[in-house]
């Protein structure tokens, strides 16, 4: 058997606004941090974080599945982008 089908994997997906898109929430948090005396904070961007349990998949298949669900569901590609890590 090339891999264990019962093997579970965990995907950690991070969704953030594209660099070209203004982030009013991040900007507000940045402003609050500056007011509270946190100096040296150059910028803040707010995003979303997903933990996804996967099962019964080989790594290559899991990679493809995570990329597809991140692209088609978790992000609105007009304004957002994603990155992820996959742990066995």
């Amino acid at each position: 058997m090339p891999y264990n089908l019962n093997n579970s994997m965990k995907a950690y997906v991070y969704v953030s606004l594209k660099k070209s898109v203004l982030d009013p929430q991040g900007k507000t948090i940045h402003g609050a941090l500056a007011k509270m005396g946190f100096h040296g904070v150059a910028d803040v961007r707010q995003g979303k974080y997903f933990e996804i349990d996967l099962t019964g998949m080989a790594r290559a298949e899991a990679e493809a599945e995570v990329q597809r669900l991140a692209r088609e569901v978790l992000t609105n590609t007009v304004i957002e982008e994603y990155r992820y890590t996959l742990e066995e």
């Binding site: 070209s20 898109v21 203004l22 009013p24 929430q25 507000t28 569901v73 978790l74 609105n76 007009v78 304004i79």
Partner: protein
């Protein structure tokens, strides 16, 4: 002309839209449940305001994957008339029926008040009962109405005269102060390339009768009824 108003879990302007179509415009109308593919031979679909699926993930995102939206995409591809109001506009953008996205308001506040919009193109099925440049008073009520699209899309919208409404002051000027949410170029409503799909953040169904304080919103519905009679 038969209107179909979509109902998602969390829709809350569905009955207002239904009332406007059936009681004010006096046209046949029906409510269409999100879990069904059947559009019941309607001539125009209204995607109403509210908080479909609790706005989970992103406003309009989960709703755009529902069975009824598959049918609405096919209906629109065949030239069918679709209007998305507020959350409905967000759903149409998420569904790919309109370009761009509606982001969190600049200022991060839920904004609920009457605003003025200018009719930028009066030669469409949604605006033909208005004079070009007419200023309408229509209420808004949203947290995510900040329209955004990339430069190429904006150029396309302008070239095609597809920006139908802009936020303006009562004098009809599209100033920064008149922009309630940070929308790109004061955009309040846009149409698809074929001018059969409209998305707008202001609520015409909430200003369609004098008893509501203003009846300017009725023009959108009258335009539609007129356009369908001509066709």
């Amino acid at each position: 002309m038969k209107f179909g108003v979509l109902v998602f879990p969390g829709s809350n302007c569905d009955h207002d839209a239904y009332w406007t179509a059936s009681k004010v415009l006096k046209q046949p109308a029906t409510l269409l449940w999100h879990g069904s593919h059947d559009l019941e031979n309607c001539d125009a679909i209204i995607v109403p305001g509210g908080f479909a699926y609790g706005d989970y993930l992103r406003t309009g995102a989960i709703a755009s994957f529902s069975p009824v939206m598959e049918s609405v995409r096919k209906f629109a591809a065949g030239g069918g008339i679709v209007i998305g109001i507020c959350n409905g506009f967000q759903i149409l953008c998420e569904s790919g029926l309109l370009p761009g996205a509606l982001m969190r308001n600049v200022g991060l506040r839920y904004v609920c008040k009457p605003v003025h919009v200018r009719v930028e193109n009066a030669d469409t099925p949604f605006t033909n009962a208005c004079k070009p440049g007419a200023v309408l008073e229509i209420p808004i009520g949203h947290m995510e109405g900040n329209y955004f699209c990339d430069d190429t899309t904006l150029a396309d919208l302008k070239r095609g005269n597809r920006i139908l409404f802009r936020y303006v002051n009562p004098q009809g000027e599209a100033t920064a102060q008149a922009n309630p949410n940070g929308s790109l170029e004061n955009i309040a409503g846009i149409a698809s390339e074929g001018f059969n799909v409209l998305g707008m953040m202001p609520h015409p169904e909430r200003s369609a009768e004098a008893i509501l304080g203003c009846s300017d919103g009725l023009r959108v519905f009258q335009s539609l009824a007129g356009a369908m009679v001509k066709a």
